[in-house]
């Protein structure tokens, strides 16, 4: 398949033209596809630059799917056992503890201690609606507030939901993109077995990355999958969620790749923000389908390329400051983590959408 796909490439360059890594790093996706056409060796370090933002695949006029070619290249390196040490650690952790950070599986529901009400196991709920926390939000102190916040918001709107607790395993979205297809299958099968056993009918994913793989790579499970911003927007529209507005700060919205360009969810987060602010949020010059990737996807949370070039998050922060924004809002934990470092340095706040909403209900 891959060989056939690359042969259809006509080297138009739309991939490189839209790639968030092209130009500033040694990563040149058009060159890689060319090398694959002629069966030439691709330097081992190069595939790890890709952020799996998928822009190349979305824009390719010949359906070459360059981002999938990168996954195939990584898969070969994985099978050969020749992968960067930090990626190796993340994969081994995901195998042993079911999360790439290697945190104890028994602590996966520790974030529930941040709310002052009990969250039942999904099997004990009537609606069988599962709130899927995602690894980084289950364990990272910065991101643990997100599942807690969304739980508060859902409860405020009277939505019944449950969790899987320590039975939840990594969704595998990043694992597949790091080229570990076998491990992805194991994680997917484990989650699907649990979904089936507990009769899960609906999943509210907190991370766009989890939502993406549940929707596109988990097969036909019959389970409805939503990102939490879709659910909250419906609740806002129906009046079940009351947002008072008047957040009082100038906020610019950053589209996460896995939510926006890969799943066409552009308006729900903006509508929620507009309700919270009482006005339209500010917009970056590169927005919606053209949003500039934060460089956290495709395993890049676990692989640091040489930092000799300007990070996209720095570019984002610079533009936000120039337009007079006080806060960058986004709806993806990876984007939060990547944007926050350069933002904090410049005195700019980064908020996950749920943090803003919680302040105005």
């Amino acid at each position: 398949m891959e060989a056939q796909r690359v042969l259809t490439c006509m080297q138009c360059g739309k991939c490189t033209g839209s790639c968030p890594e092209a130009g500033k790093t040694p990563f040149n996706i058009r060159m890689i596809i060319r090398k694959k056409q002629f069966d030439r060796t691709v330097e081992e370090a190069l595939p790890w630059y890709c952020t799996s933002c998928n822009t190349c695949t979305l824009r390719c006029p010949r359906d070459v799917k360059p981002s999938e070619v990168i996954i195939d290249l990584r898969a070969q390196l994985v099978e050969d056992g020749r992968i960067p040490a930090t990626v190796q650690k993340a994969l081994e952790n995901a195998f042993v503890q079911k999360n790439p950070w290697g945190k104890a599986r028994s602590k996966r529901a520790d974030w529930t201690q941040k709310v002052d009400f009990d969250i039942p196991h999904v099997s004990e709920t009537k609606e069988k609606r599962l709130l899927f926390s995602c690894c980084i939000q289950a364990y990272d102190p910065r991101c643990m507030v997100i599942p807690a916040n969304v739980s508060r918001l859902l409860r405020a709107a009277g939505v019944e939901f449950g969790i899987l607790g320590e039975e939840e395993a990594c969704c595998g979205n990043e694992i597949r993109r790091m080229g570990e297809a076998g491990l992805f299958e194991e994680l997917r099968d484990e989650n699907l077995t649990n979904f089936k056993e507990y009769g899960v009918k609906e999943i509210i994913a907190l991370s766009p990355h989890c939502m993406n793989t549940f929707r596109k790579e988990y097969g036909e499970s019959g389970i409805r999958v939503f990102h939490y911003t879709e659910v909250l927007q419906d609740l806002l529209e129906s009046g079940a969620l009351k947002v008072t507005g008047g957040y009082g700060k100038k906020v610019v919205y950053h589209d996460p790749c896995f939510l926006g360009k890969q799943n066409n969810l552009f308006d729900d987060p903006r509508d929620l923000l507009r309700a919270a602010l009482g006005e339209k949020p500010l917009e970056f010059s590169r927005l919606r389908e053209n949003s500039l990737c934060c460089e956290g996807g495709g395993g890049r949370m676990f692989y640091d390329v040489e930092a000799l070039y300007q990070r996209n998050s720095e570019t984002r922060v610079k533009e936000a400051l120039e337009m007079g924004a006080e806060v960058i809002a986004t709806s993806c934990p990876f984007c939060v983590m990547n944007l926050e470092d350069p933002a904090t340095e410049k005195g700019l706040a980064v908020k996950e959408l749920s943090e803003i909403l919680l302040e105005v209900i």
């Binding site: 994985v78 099978e79 056992g81 020749r82 190796q88 570990e180 297809a181 076998g182």
Partner: protein, 259 residues
């Protein structure tokens, strides 16, 4: 060169808060994941690199319950030719008992080897002496904390041992011998799930540990599990930032940390 590598399946405890059960008689391991002892991964990798270069074969040996097969599959996926499981419901933790079991097995089976590798220690019991005891029983030389294998000859190996103070000791050790391999000697290759699935097709040989139990006895006995004594809590400095900093600097000066 034929190399036997002893590999152990151990619970992953680093991120856990372990609980002692039954008044100190047991530790709750029921919910812990398991994996190959970290040091053993380095030992397998080193052995595989040696035979990849100079020929021969690696056999991974594990003593444990049926689930220890997991570490054998992993070793085979890394490049070991054989996997041998000495199966018992419960294998003693006592290093003398474990070494006796391994010794009986090697003698009775007549398993050929030029070298035996072990990890420096096992993550769970941390005795760090299995290899040394086994070498003594076999009456062959032993080198601990091996951080490099510089030369492989028919009659001997040249290896480096890690010593205190950042020094290394280069030694020549006659074959057959036992080496305990230190982490950092190499970078163990990644073993993919596909690789482990393929390795599952290689037949592992299973032996009953009971058939090799002669003289296997514990010389030490775990009497009780205890938590380390709690130390005094940290002193909290309160007040305005300037006041806090002044107090902090005074304490650091008093302790001699800051002049």
């Amino acid at each position: 060169m034929e190399i036997l590598v002893f590999t152990k399946r151990v619970p992953v405890t680093q991120e856990e808060e372990l609980r002692i059960l039954d008044d100190g008689r047991a530790v709750d391991l029921s919910k812990l994941p398991y994996r190959t002892n970290d040091w053993d991964n380095y030992a397998v990798e080193e052995a595989v690199r040696i035979v990849e270069k100079g020929g021969g074969g690696v056999a991974s040996v594990s003593m444990g319950n049926a689930e220890a097969d997991e570490v054998l599959r992993r070793a085979i996926a890394m490049g070991a030719r054989d996997g041998l499981l000495l199966e018992a419901g419960e294998v003693p933790q006592d290093p003398f008992a474990r070494a006796t079991l391994a010794y009986n097995f090697l003698k009775k089976q007549g398993t050929p080897f030029d070298a035996i590798f072990t990890g420096v220690q096992a993550e769970d019991d941390q005795f760090a002496c299995f290899g040394g005891i086994l070498a003594a029983m076999l009456k062959i030389p032993y080198a601990a904390q091996v951080i490099a294998v510089d030369d492989v000859q028919k009659e001997y190996l040249v290896v480096r041992r890690e010593l205190e103070g950042g020094l290394q000791e280069r030694i020549r050790i006659a074959l057959p011998c036992v080496l305990s391999i230190q982490s950092g000697i190499n970078e163990p290759r990644y073993v993919s799930i596909m690789g482990v699935r393929k390795a599952s097709k290689v037949e592992r040989k299973v032996f009953k540990a009971n058939d090799f139990a002669e003289g296997v006895k514990n010389l030490i006995e775990v009497t009780t599990w205890v938590y380390p004594p709690k130390k005094e809590g940290a002193a909290m400095i309160t007040g305005e930032p300037v006041e806090v900093c002044t107090k902090l600097v005074a304490i650091l000066k008093e302790k001699g940390v800051y002049q």
